[in-house]
C-alpha cells in the first residue's frame, strides 16, 4: 500500500498543489489585512466616535430638581411652602388599555371622578411617555396595597414628589399666584431663553403672580448626577454629583394681618384694595375680592372647578387691583386741585358760586353737580371737602385737556406703575392726541368737563390710584410699588433687602400741597364726605371719596340678566393715607356696585388704618425664616 502511495506522488501534481497552497497563503494574508484595516479604522480613525458612544452607553445624567424657594409675608408668615408626598403616576405609553387599567386601579386606591377628569386633561396636554400623576398624597395603606399588586400595573408607579402648597389660599392668591405643570408653551419659552437644561426634571413652573415673576429666584439651579448604568439600565454607581442649589426664599412686603383685616372689611362686597408704605413703595396689602384657591391649579385644575371659577359672575380669577380699570370718579379731584394751583389757574382764595350746574360758554347743555341746587360758595378747600363737581367743571375748562393730561400723568394715572408682578394694565388718562389717534376725532371742550370729575374716558386701576395717593402723601416721591421686600438665600439664610426705588420726584410747591392735604384731612372730619368714617379715629387721616359710574364703562362684563340692576350700581371709591401729618400707609379702595365712596369704601379704609396704626399685629418672627428649605420640606413628610 505504501508503495502505491509513492507511485502516485507525481512531481507535476506536487507542483500544482504547492501553487494552490501559495495562492491560499496569499488569500490568508489578504483577508487578515482586510481585518487589520477594519480594526485600524475602528480603533484609530473612529476611536473618538466610538469612545463617545461607549461613554453615552455607560453614563446617564440624572437631573436633581432643586427645592423651590418659599414665600413669606413681611412678618415671616408662610404664603407658599413645599411638602413631600407620594403620588401615583402613570406613563400612558406603557399602559396598553388605559381606561380598563384605571378602573382596576380604582378598586385598590380611591380615585375620584375629579382625579380622573384632571388626569384626562393632563393626558390631552402631555406627551405619552411622560409620567403623569393621577392621585397625590397617598396614605400609607394605599401605598402598601399598591406595592403588593404592583406587578398587575406596568407603567404605573408610586413616586415621592415635592409639592407646593398655599396655606392662605384665596387671601393672597392674587399676589402669590401659583405654579402649575410645565406645558408646551413654557417649554418653548425655556428653550428660547436657554433655561431648558435647568428645568430637566422640573415639573412645575410659576404661571402667575409672584410665582411667575420671581420664577428665576424661586426655581433654583438644578443639579445632576452622573450615574454609571449597565445594559439593563440599573445604576451601578454614582460617578459624580453636583447638588442642586435650592431656590431663594422671598419675603414679601405684604402684611398678612393687614391683608386679612382688609379682606374682612369688604364683607360680602367685591372690590380691590391696594395699600402702600408711602416711605418706600412697599405694598402692604393687595386685595382683589373675590380671590380663588390657588392650590387648585398646582396639579392641573379639573374641569369642574375651572368652569366654576372661569364662568362665575364674580370673576374671581380677575385681579381687580392689578387689571381692573375703573373711572376714578371724584378721587381724581385732589390731582385736579394740585394742577390748578401749580399751573396758576386757581388761587386758594378764589371762590365761585355753585348753582348746581355748569355750562360751557355759548352752549345750552348743563353739566350737573351731584348735589341738586349746588354747594353755594365754594373755594378750593371746600371743593374737595364737599366734593363739588361744578368747581371742577369750570376748572377743567380753564386748564384744558392737555394740561390735565400732562400734570396728572406725573401721578401715574393711566400708566403702568411697574409693579413686580406681571399682567398690569395701563388704564387711560385721555389727551387730545390720544383721542385723535384712537377715534380720529378732535377733542371737544365738552370731553374735558367729564374728565374733570374722573369720568369720561378716564380709566385707572386701584393700584394706580394707590400709587398716586402715595405721591400726595409723601410730598411728591414716586416710589416703585413692589411686593418683594427681601430675597433670602435658603442655604445660608442670608437675606438681601430689595431697596426702595425712587422713580422720580413730582415737584410741587409745599404750600400748594399743604392746601390740598389739609382739605383731604377735612374730608374725614364733620362736614366732609367721609365724615362718618373719620369719627373717633385715634389719628388724623386724609382721604377723598369717589363714585365711579358703571354704565358706559369699558369693562366688558357679561352681565347675568337677573342681576343686571345690582351689577349696574356705582362703584364706591376711596383714596386715603394716614396718619395725615406723617403718613405710614397710603391706599386706594374700590368697592364694586356698592354706592357712594363715603358710605362703603371709606369705612374699609378706616378699618385697615385701625389695624395698621393701632392694631396689635403679631411681632416679626423672622427667626423661622433662616431654616433651610430642605428642613422645611421634611417637616411635612
Amino acid at each position: 500500500m505504501n508503495h502505491k502511495v509513492e507511485l502516485r506522488n507525481h512531481p507535476e501534481e506536487l507542483r500544482k498543489f504547492r501553487i494552490r497552497l501559495a495562492v491560499s497563503s496569499g488569500f490568508v494574508i489578504l483577508f487578515f489585512s482586510i481585518l487589520y484595516v477594519r480594526f485600524y479604522y475602528l480603533q484609530v480613525t473612529q476611536q473618538d466616535h466610538y469612545h463617545t458612544l461607549a461613554e453615552a452607553n455607560r453614563i446617564s445624567i440624572l437631573p436633581l430638581v432643586p427645592n423651590r424657594g418659599l414665600i413669606f409675608d413681611r412678618h415671616g408668615k408662610t404664603l407658599a411652602q413645599n411638602y413631600s408626598a407620594y403620588t401615583l403616576e402613570v406613563i400612558p405609553s406603557k399602559v396598553p388599555n388605559l381606561d380598563a387599567t384605571l378602573d382596576e386601579l380604582a378598586t385598590l386606591i380611591e380615585i375620584t371622578p375629579t382625579d380622573r377628569q384632571r388626569f384626562k386633561k393632563l393626558l390631552r396636554e402631555s406627551k405619552r411617555f411622560k409620567s403623569l400623576p393621577i392621585r397625590s398624597r397617598l396614605t400609607d395603606l394605599e401605598i402598601a396595597s399598591f406595592a403588593v399588586n404592583r406587578y398587575r400595573f406596568p407603567g404605573i408607579e408610586i413616586k415621592a414628589r415635592v409639592f407646593r402648597q398655599y396655606p392662605e389660599k384665596e387671601r393672597v392668591s392674587h399676589v402669590v399666584g401659583y405654579i402649575s405643570r410645565i406645558n408646551d408653551q413654557d417649554l418653548e419659552q425655556l428653550e428660547s431663553s436657554g433655561e431648558l437644561n435647568n428645568y430637566r426634571g422640573s415639573q412645575h413652573i410659576g404661571k402667575i403672580g409672584i410665582e411667575q415673576s420671581y420664577e428665576r429666584q424661586l426655581h433654583g439651579i438644578a443639579g445632576f448626577e452622573e450615574v454609571e448604568t449597565d445594559a439593563a439600565g440599573r445604576s451601578i454607581r454614582v460617578l459624580s454629583r453636583t447638588p442642586p442649589t435650592p431656590g431663594n426664599n422671598l419675603i414679601l412686603t405684604l402684611d398678612l394681618g393687614l391683608q386679612e383685616a382688609a379682606e374682612k372689611a369688604f364683607g360680602e362686597f367685591r372690590g380691590a384694595l391696594v395699600a402702600l408704605d408711602p416711605n418706600n413703595g412697599e405694598i402692604l396689602a393687595f386685595v382683589s375680592k373675590p380671590g380663588y384657591d390657588n392650590n387648585l391649579f398646582i396639579g392641573g385644575i379639573d374641569q369642574e372647578n375651572w368652569n366654576l371659577l372661569n364662568h362665575s359672575i364674580d370673576r374671581p380669577l380677575n385681579n381687580r387691583a392689578l387689571r381692573g380699570v375703573y373711572p376714578p370718579g371724584s378721587t381724581f379731584k385732589p390731582f385736579m386741585a394740585l394742577a390748578a394751583l401749580e399751573l396758576g389757574k386757581r388761587t386758594p382764595e378764589y371762590t365761585m358760586s355753585d348753582p348746581g350746574f355748569f355750562s360751557l360758554p355759548g352752549v345750552d347743555r348743563r353739566y350737573r353737580d351731584w348735589k341738586p341746587g349746588g354747594h353755594g360758595r365754594v373755594n378750593l378747600h371746600r371743593s374737595l371737602v364737599v366734593s363739588c363737581d361744578t368747581y371742577y367743571y369750570s376748572l377743567a375748562n380753564d386748564l384744558g385737556i392737555d394740561n390735565i393730561h400732562n400734570f396728572i400723568g406725573q401721578f401715574g394715572l393711566g400708566k403702568k406703575t411697574g409693579i413686580d408682578i406681571e399682567g398690569e394694565v395701563s388704564g387711560l388718562l385721555p389727551s387730545a392726541a390720544w383721542k385723535m389717534k384712537q377715534y380720529k376725532q378732535k377733542w371737544y371742550a365738552g370731553d374735558t368737563i367729564s374728565v374733570a370729575i374722573g369720568q369720561g374716558y378716564n380709566l385707572t386701576t386701584p393700584l394706580q390710584l394707590a400709587f398716586a395717593t402715595m405721591i400726595i402723601a409723601n410730598n411728591g416721591k414716586a416710589y416703585l410699588p413692589h411686593l418683594v421686600k427681601q430675597v433670602q438665600n435658603s442655604k445660608t439664610g442670608n437675606t438681601e433687602e430689595v431697596p426702595a426705588k425712587l422713580l422720580y420726584q413730582v415737584n410741587m410747591k409745599p404750600s400748594h400741597l399743604e392746601i390740598v392735604k389739609n382739605a383731604l384731612v377735612d374730608v374725614t372730619r364733620p362736614g366732609g364726605t367721609a365724615a362718618k368714617a373719620g369719627i373717633n379715629a385715634g389719628y388724623s387721616f386724609a382721604g377723598k371719596t369717589g363714585t365711579s359710574q358703571v354704565i358706559g364703562i369699558k369693562q366688558g362684563e357679561r352681565y347675568n340678566e337677573k342681576s343686571i340692576n345690582e351689577r349696574h350700581r356705582d362703584h364706591a371709591m376711596f383714596i386715603a393715607y394716614a396718619p395725615a401729618d406723617d403718613p405710614k400707609i397710603a391706599l386706594a379702595v374700590l368697592v364694586e356696585n356698592s354706592g357712594t365712596g363715603g358710605s362703603t369704601a371709606a369705612p374699609i379704609a378706616r378699618k385697615v388704618f385701625d389695624y395698621y396704626l393701632l392694631g396689635q399685629h403679631p411681632e416679626p418672627t423672622i427667626a423661622q425664616l433662616s431654616e433651610p428649605a430642605d428642613e422645611h420640606q421634611h417637616d411635612h413628610l
Binding site: 500500500m1 505504501n2 502511495v5 509513492e6 502516485r8 506522488n9 501534481e13 500544482k16 498543489f17 504547492r18 494552490r20 497552497l21 491560499s24 497563503s25 490568508v28 483577508f31 487578515f32 482586510i34 481585518l35 487589520y36 477594519r38 480594526f39 485600524y40 475602528l42 480603533q43 484609530v44 473612529q46 476611536q47 466616535h49 466610538y50 469612545h51 458612544l53 461607549a54 461613554e55 452607553n57 455607560r58 454609571e228 448604568t229 449597565d230 445594559a231 439593563a232 451601578i236
Partner: protein, 366 residues
C-alpha cells in the same frame, strides 16, 4: 530518571512542538479574556480549562494515530455523520427555533460538528482515490458528497456551520486542482443564485444580512450585536481600556461576550496593539500548519492538512469579520478563545491530524 525520559518521549513523540506552543499561547489568551468577559467567574474559567484539557488529550490521541488508519475511517465517519444529520432532520430537538441537536440515550450530540472533520476526510479520501483520473465527472461527484450534508445543515438552520463545512470541502476541491475556470464559474453561479438563496433563507438570516448593510436600522433588535461590538472595539482605541476595564463588557452592553463575541472583549480591553499581536499569533499557527501541509507526503494528507488549515483560518476571519461588523452575524466561535467545549474539541482534533501528518514517518520520494 530514565522512566521520566521515556514517558516524555512517548508523550511528545507525535507532537509538533511549534504548533502546540501556538495552540497553548492562544488558549492562555482565551482564559485571560474569558476571566474578564465572565466578570471574574472562576467557575466558568475552570470549566473552560477542563474543556481544553479534554481537547488536548483528544489531540494527543489523534496525533498518535497514523494517517493510514485515519484514512480508513473517512468513509464510515462520513456515512455515520450523514445518517445522523438525516436523523436530526427527522427527530432532532428544537431549541431557539433551530433543529440542531440529536438526543441519543446518554447525551445530546450535534452531528454537524462531526461533519466538520468528516467532510475534509471524506473529500480528501475521495480525491486520493480518483487521483490519477480527475475528470470533471470526479469533481461533480465530490461536489455532491459535499453539498448533501451542507444542505441538511442549512435546513436546520445553522448558517455558520454550513458555511464552514462548505468552505472546508471547497478547500479540498481547490487544493486538489479544480480548474480556475470552474472556480470562476462557481463564483458567478453563486452570485447569480443569490436571489434564489434569498428566497430559501429564514427571516432571521435575511435580517442578519440586512443588518450588516445598515445596523442602525434595527439598533435594539438584530443590529444591537453589531453596534455594541463595534463600539466595544472602536472605543478600545490603540492601547485598550485595560484588562477587566472594558465598560462595554463589564456593564453588559456587549452580548454573548464569552462565546461568539469574545473578540470584542479582547479588542476593547487590549486595543489595536492587542489585536495586532493576536493576529500575528494566529498567523503563526496558520503558518506552521501551512508548512506541515507543504511537507505532507501524500495527496490525501496534503488535502486534509490544507483543508484543516484553511478552515481554521476561515473560523478566525468569519468570527472577527462579524464581530467587527464587516460580515453578517453567523454563529461562528473564535477558535481556541471562545468559551465552549465542542468547538475546542473539533479544533484540536484537526490539529491532532496535522501533527500526525507531520510526525509519522513520511515516505520520501526516491
Amino acid at each position: 530518571m530514565i522512566d521520566i525520559r521515556k514517558i516524555w518521549y512517548y508523550l511528545t513523540r507525535y507532537i509538533d512542538g511549534l504548533l502546540l506552543a501556538g495552540i497553548l499561547a492562544l488558549m492562555l489568551v482565551g482564559l485571560i479574556v474569558l476571566y474578564s468577559a465572565t466578570g471574574a467567574n472562576i467557575n466558568k474559567v475552570s470549566h473552560q480549562m477542563v474543556n481544553m484539557v479534554i481537547a488536548l488529550v483528544i489531540m494527543w490521541l489523534v496525533a498518535n494515530i497514523p494517517l493510514q488508519q485515519i484514512k480508513r475511517l473517512a468513509l464510515p465517519m462520513y456515512v455515520l455523520g450523514f445518517a445522523l444529520l438525516i436523523a436530526v432532520a427527522l427527530f432532532g430537538e428544537i431549541s431557539n427555533g433551530a433543529r440542531r441537536w440529536l438526543d441519543i440515550w446518554v447525551t445530546k450530540i450535534q452531528p454537524s460538528e462531526l461533519m466538520k472533520i468528516a467532510i475534509p476526510l471524506m473529500m480528501a479520501w475521495y480525491f486520493d482515490k480518483h487521483e490519477i483520473t480527475l475528470r470533471l465527472r470526479d469533481y461533480l461527484g465530490a461536489v455532491i458528497v459535499l453539498m448533501l450534508p451542507v444542505a441538511l445543515i442549512l435546513k436546520q438552520p445553522d448558517l455558520g456551520t454550513a458555511i464552514l463545512i462548505a468552505a472546508s470541502g471547497f478547500y479540498v476541491l481547490f487544493l486538489a486542482g479544480l480548474s480556475w475556470r470552474i472556480i470562476a464559474g462557481l463564483i458567478v453561479t453563486a452570485a447569480a443564485s443569490f436571489p434564489l438563496m434569498w428566497s430559501f433563507m429564514h427571516d432571521y438570516q435575511r435580517q442578519r444580512i440586512m443588518t450588516l448593510l445598515d445596523p442602525s436600522q434595527d439598533p435594539l433588535g438584530s443590529g444591537y450585536h453589531t453596534i455594541q461590538s463595534s463600539i466595544a472595539i472602536g472605543s478600545g482605541g490603540l492601547i485598550g481600556k485595560g484588562w477587566q476595564n472594558g465598560t462595554q463588557t463589564q456593564l453588559d452592553f456587549l452580548p454573548e461576550q464569552s462565546t461568539d463575541f469574545i473578540f470584542a472583549v479582547f479588542s476593547e480591553e487590549f486595543g489595536l496593539i492587542g489585536n495586532t499581536l493576536l493576529l500575528l499569533l494566529y498567523l503563526g499557527v496558520i503558518g506552521r500548519c501551512m508548512v506541515i501541509t507543504a511537507n505532507a507526503s501524500t495527496q490525501f494528507t496534503r488535502l486534509i492538512a490544507g483543508s484543516i488549515t484553511l478552515t481554521f483560518f476561515t473560523y478566525i476571519f468569519v468570527n472577527m469579520g462579524m464581530v467587527s461588523g464587516i460580515l453578517p452575524v453567523v454563529g461562528v466561535p473564535l477558535p481556541l478563545i471562545s468559551y465552549g467545549g465542542t468547538s475546542m474539541v473539533t479544533m484540536l482534533l484537526g490539529f491532532g491530524i496535522l501533527m500526525s501528518i507531520q510526525t509519522h514517518p513520511k515516505l520520501i520520494k526516491t
